[in-house]
């Protein structure tokens, strides 16, 4: 799904860095060396699109967290007297086929979408990191076994696998998270394995090993920190993928189950010809929410990548 990432014409970060350095020496105020993390943050802040994406996500997050305070109505309370009403003062985004407030559902749905997105990405990254590091560190048949498994997982179309899993185990949010994670872990795994292979041959690692460090210790203290920057980037982009996957599955009725709202199943409610033709308030808001959120996450992800690894800048 890497084709989902927008290709960004980010300003040449390396050049920007030189300017920063020049500024620093010119003013002579900050003579101490910045940590790589601090430099990454600086670079990220210079990427306006990424920052805008981040701000947008923050707003969505706040709206989702404080949904009960912001929405005047309950997202699941039906009102049979108010079915499919257009937006009004009482219902800002109108009501759906059961007379539920679309605005409230949109906010509560944000919780589900973000929850699924973040947790699926977390589980995926966690799984991928462990598998990748183990493969890289142990090498030999362990490496072969794990990486061929990863290739196998990657060779299946993820959405089909998720549909089968959801169908077999019954649709629910935990299943959704597990299914998405189970199909996306190879990406972080390969990445971490690559980093591990490089780091493994470094002198400091040899030194640590000679000093008696266990593999677990090496993993915790050296390999994961070395890969952390890239893990964060991949993890962020996985969030976007997971949000999309959730929307697709819920749209198909295999994701979040009614009456709980998610952006995907709000769109599901809007498959009817009548709704498409004459009730845009039922499908426009969740559609826009999905598009904007995924776009914002991708912007942030790209910004993070450029910030963490300036050499990658401009490539995608």
């Amino acid at each position: 799904m890497s084709d989902l990432r927008p290709s960004l014409d980010t300003p040449d970060v390396a050049a920007a860095e030189e300017v920063v350095a020049a500024e620093a020496t010119a003013t002579g105020v900050r003579t101490q060396r910045r940590s790589p993390a601090a430099m990454a943050v600086r670079r990220f802040k210079r990427n306006k699109v990424a920052v805008a994406g981040g701000v947008f996500l923050l707003i969505i997050l706040v709206l989702a967290l404080f949904a009960p305070l912001i929405a005047q109505q309950s997202p699941t309370a039906v009102d049979l007297g108010q079915i499919r009403r257009p937006p009004s003062g009482e219902h800002w985004l109108g009501t759906d086929a059961s007379g539920r407030d679309v605005f409230a559902r949109l906010l509560y749905a944000a919780r589900v979408s973000l929850l699924v997105g973040v947790f699926a990405a977390l589980v995926s990254v966690l799984l991928g990191t462990v598998i990748g590091a183990v493969a890289g560190l142990f090498g030999g048949w362990v490496d072969t076994l794990l990486m061929r498994t990863a290739d196998m997982v990657l060779s299946f179309p993820p959405i089909v696998v998720i549909i089968v899993l959801a169908g077999l185990l019954g649709p629910s949010i935990p299943i959704l998270i597990i299914a998405i994670a189970a199909t996306t872990w190879p990406t972080p795994a390969r990445l971490v394995r690559g980093v591990t292979l490089t780091v493994r041959e470094r002198e400091y690692l040899h030194a640590a090993r000679v000093a008696g460090a266990s593999r677990g210790w090496l993993l915790r203290k050296h390999i994961v920190p070395a890969a952390m920057g890239q893990i964060v980037v991949v993890g962020t982009l996985l969030v976007a993928q997971a949000i999309l996957a959730e929307a697709v599955l819920s749209f198909l009725g295999l994701g979040v189950q009614p009456p709980q709202a998610s952006w995907g199943n709000m769109l599901n409610d809007a498959q009817s010809l009548t709704v498409i033709q004459s009730m845009p308030w039922l499908w426009l808001p969740p559609g826009l929410a999905i598009a904007a959120t995924v776009l914002a996450v991708n912007f942030v992800g790209d910004g993070l990548r450029d910030a963490v690894d300036p050499r990658q800048s401009g490539r995608s």
Binding site: V78, L80, I83, A97, S98, P258, P259, Q271, T274
Partner: protein
């Protein structure tokens, strides 16, 4: 994304756009193909003995025929029979005269022996039949049901065109309940062992011999059922050459109606206005004879108190559901009985959440007890009803959870009685009031019959049986009304509504007469033409 799904189709679709050439120019008429909506994927068991399944019933109505049929006024009319059956003065002999000179679609002659064969299968629970209970008053029927005899002595074929049923006592409802049994070919099935009948390849794979207007061709799983016309049909070859029945959601079907991919669709009242606005589409409707309901599984200890079910009825604003969500295109239901069998003084359970809470408090309902409602999603009206049930039952303190399932899953849940509540609809209780027995009696618990609530009330059963044995009409309906009052008070099912069945079809389709029974839209298919 929405449009992509709505527009998705399969290669067969191209056939019919190629066939839209005008006919009657003197050249050979090209194949005409009708694409019709199937409201759920079929369970793919086209056996008359199998548990009732609406979508499979639509198919069987096309590939098989029966002695009698039910018209849109819910009255019986003869199909394979030459006329309505004669009933002897003592009420103990029912005689059907069959139309003469009929053949099966494979050319074999159709005789009364086929009818005897089929009725024996229906009376024998070993075939998977859920209808054996209906023959309790037939001579030899109970023995076959109990497994102590192989064939029912009361079914006989005195000659090739006569089918006779002998009864031990009068049974007024029998004709209404069994006249429309789909007849299956003896010459094809005679060698199948009785206890393997429910899995016979003929029924589950390829029921390609029948008496109906169409012959089964192929079922492409979850895509379509393909039927071609039967040249041997009793009224002569029908006009429309092929039918594709396509299981899609009601939303997709309605959208496809607009694009011309679908010719005949049962639509939701919510879409009525939009569909009426489409060019070249006609709309017609008929009153339903069954109703949408949720069974409450009384095998579960926490669902046994009638006060719980009463509370559920009070908790749901069914009138507003009808008025608003269904645009008034439905009737309220408070008992399974219809027309003259339904008394006027039934409790109407008008929306009263306080009363519901009172009843729940009175019975010490545990508000933490989770109750799950399982149903096959995809029909907008039913999905909306489920949503409303969820919200309004939770509002009075019944923790209802929704669970969308696939048809196969629901069958499994029915077989192991594991569901709490299940939402479904259908049936015909207008033609013959005794049909209610099959969904409410102690002896008709699923899978023996269609009682999915596992409700059991001896007094109700007694009244029903007595009514069915009462030849005098006034006396019979009085007994049915008494039974209706018991059902109404005990609420074995959460009655939702009896929907008008609304059909929309292309105006190229002529001769369509809307049937309120949504499992029988093709009842007069021999009168249809498709003039594109």
């Amino acid at each position: 994304m929405i449009l992509a799904v709505a527009a998705c189709s399969d290669p067969t679709q191209n056939d019919d756009t190629g066939n839209t050439s005008d006919e009657g120019t003197g050249g050979a008429a090209e194949d005409t193909t009708l694409n019709a909506y199937l409201y759920q994927p079929p369970a793919a068991n086209w056996s008359p003995m199998a548990p009732a399944s609406g979508p499979d019933g639509i198919v069987m109505n096309l590939i098989y025929d029966s002695l009698l049929g039910v018209d849109p006024n819910y009255e019986l009319y003869p199909r394979l029979a030459a006329d309505l059956p004669e009933i002897s003065d003592d009420g103990l002999t029912i005689t059907y005269k069959l139309k003469e000179g009929l053949t099966w679609s494979d050319g074999e002659p159709f005789t009364a022996e086929d009818v005897v064969f089929t009725y024996n299968l229906m009376a024998d629970p070993d075939t998977g039949s859920t209808a054996s209970g209906r023959f309790a008053d037939v001579v030899g029927g109970p023995e076959v049901a109990a497994g102590t005899a192989d064939t029912v002595t009361g079914f006989s074929a005195p000659d090739e065109h006569t089918f006779q049923i002998q009864l031990t006592k009068p049974n007024v409802g029998l004709v209404g309940l069994t006249g429309n049994i789909w007849i299956v070919p003896q010459h094809v099935l005679a060698d199948v062992p009785v206890d393997e009948m429910d899995t016979a390849e003929f029924f589950t794979q390829n029921p390609n011999v029948g008496m109906g207007p169409y012959i089964f061709q192929e079922y492409a799983t979850d895509q379509y059922i393909h039927l071609v016309k039967n040249p041997a049909f009793r009224e002569g070859e029908v006009d429309i050459d092929e039918i594709y029945l396509r299981p899609v959601t009601s939303d997709v079907a309605t959208a496809q109606l607009g694009t011309g991919e679908m010719d005949l669709v049962q639509i939701s009242a919510a879409d009525l206005e939009t569909v009426e606005g489409l060019d070249g589409i006609e709309v017609g409707s008929g009153p339903g004879a069954g109703y949408i309901r949720t069974s409450v599984n009384e095998k579960k200890p926490y669902l046994q108190d009638p006060r719980l079910r009463q509370a559920m009825l009070y908790a749901v604003d069914r009138q507003q559901l009808i008025d608003e969500a269904l645009g008034g295109h439905a009737q309220p239901v408070n008992a399974s009985f219809m027309n003259d069998a339904r008394p006027d003084d039934l409790e109407t359970y008008d929306y009263d959440p306080d009363k519901a809470r009172e009843l729940l408090a009175e019975m010490n309902w545990d508000p933490n007890q989770v109750v799950t409602l399982s149903w096959i999603a995809g029909q907008r009206d039913r999905d909306t009803a489920a949503t409303i049930l969820e919200s309004q039952l939770n509002a009075v303190g019944i923790k209802l959870q929704l669970n969308q399932v696939q048809p196969g899953q629901l069958t499994d849940m029915m077989n192991d009685q594991s569901y709490d509540m299940t939402l479904y609809g259908g049936g015909n209780y207008a033609t013959e009031p005794f049909a209610v027995f099959a969904i409410n009696a102690c002896s008709t618990h699923f899978p023996t019959g269609g009682n999915l609530s596992y409700w059991c009330n001896e007094e109700f059963d007694q009244l029903m049986l007595e009514a069915n044995a009462t030849v005098d009409e006034a006396g019979r309906y009085d007994l049915y009304q008494q039974a209706a009052r018991i059902e109404n008070a005990e609420v074995p099912m959460i009655y939702l509504y009896n929907p008008d069945t609304i059909w929309a079809h292309t105006d190229a389709l002529k001769g369509f007469v809307p049937n309120g029974d949504f499992t029988n839209p093709f009842w007069n298919v021999q009168e249809w033409t498709l003039e594109r």
